[in-house]
């Protein structure tokens, strides 16, 4: 079932809509209210071609306040952050930022985070990077790492515990 079918049954959530709009104003000085549904965003959308994301409908649903419908949908996780929607919008709306807000809301409300995002977050919390040094294989079949390739050690926070403390606090913060 697509987003559109579900929304016909849903009620508008004015408070959540206000929350998202306040966030957009803080970040990009943008207002989704200016969207006039030209669908230029969807015309260029990289995820539309492959995964049927329709950014102009996301903006339309936000304007109607049908937030839960989107937060509960997998479709918000198909955005490829190519930023064509933001770049090409004649009204300076950034659907990609609306999608980020919706994904953040989904995470904050305790929904399961898809794919490797949790692993990346855990990695940043423990080693400050999304992954540790990986082994690679040369054309001759030799296994190499940073040190054997002659590269200097990784740059990392000098006091990891202070770094982790702030990040853990931030995990529950909102914009």
């Amino acid at each position: 079932m697509s987003i559109v079918d579900l929304t016909s049954m849903a009620e508008a959530q004015a408070e959540l809509r206000k929350e998202i709009n306040a966030r957009l104003a803080k970040l990009q000085n943008e207002s989704s209210e200016y969207c006039f549904q030209c669908a230029k965003c969807t015309a260029g959308c990289e995820a539309h071609k492959l995964l049927e994301l329709e950014p102009h409908k996301i903006v339309a649903l936000l304007k109607r306040g049908l937030i839960d419908e989107m937060v509960n949908s997998d479709v918000i996780w198909t955005c490829m952050s190519c930023f064509k929607c933001w770049e090409r919008c004649p009204q300076k709306v950034a659907p990609v930022e609306i999608l980020n807000a919706l994904k953040n809301m989904a995470v904050a409300s305790g929904k399961q985070i898809p794919g490797k995002y949790t692993a990346m977050l855990q990695s940043v919390l423990s080693i400050c990077l999304i992954q540790d040094v990986q082994e690679v294989t040369t054309h001759e079949g030799k296994t190499m790492k940073r040190d054997t390739l002659g590269l200097p050690p990784l740059s990392k926070p000098t006091d990891a515990s202070k770094f982790q403390m702030v990040l853990t606090k931030l995990a529950v913060e909102k914009i």
Partner: protein, 288 residues
Amino acid sequence: MKKYALYPGCLMPTEQYAYELSLREVFPLLDVELVDVDGFSCCGEPLKSINKMMTLYLAARNLAIGEKQGLDLFVPCPMCHFSLSECKHVLKSNKEMRDKINSMLASEDLTYKGTAGLVHTVDLLHDIIGVEEIKNRVKNPLKDLKLATHYGCHLLRPSEIGRPVDSENPQKMEAVLDALGAKCSFYPEKLDCCGAPIDANLPESALTKTGQKLQAIQDHGFDAIVDVCPWCHKMFDSRQSKAGETVAAKLDIPVLYLTQWLGLALGVKKEKLGLHLNSSPVDKLELK
């Protein structure tokens, strides 16, 4: 001699060694000193879907470390460059957010002021070193090569936050490659995504995107691809054969970082540029 703090990010220093090896090799040859600075962390961009406040904090933190050194940052990864640029853009107009972030940065004895500049590989070569200067240093011109450039979404858009290249008709890589003796031409899929950003949660779809773009480039008759992003390169180079399976095509196109092409033209040995680490068929090019 120009001097920059090298901000490595995550993917390049933990996996995409060919990019790091080649840029550490070529920039000193062009009178640019790259300084290694301790203390950096993830730029925050990969965590944007989870919590954007975290992204902004991490970006500001890395910028603050650069500021402390009194150096501008050289950021070779477009994802990191995007994250840091967006942070600067947001914090410039939002004092409340800046104060909030600074109060948290205080625990690591850091302050964000917004004074550090940012450069990426492409604008460092094109705008700061300059095409003429590069042309004068070429020893082995890249003759008879028809190359497809791929800039990567995060480097191109959105122009509102300030990007190093034109969002709809980027030409800086073309100008640099022209100076190296290679020929680039336009192709309709030039601005399309490599697929990497959804690799975390929809890996099959990500590979399909990669396969579609690679197949198009191959069908247009290009000899090889030039990229400047460790994420795009991971998809195009390391995962090329897998991407071919998604579009039922035999993909067989060499993919090299711009800094690797540059090194070759400047007469640097292949191993020093990490060419023995590229998984795509680079031997096919019979490079010296």
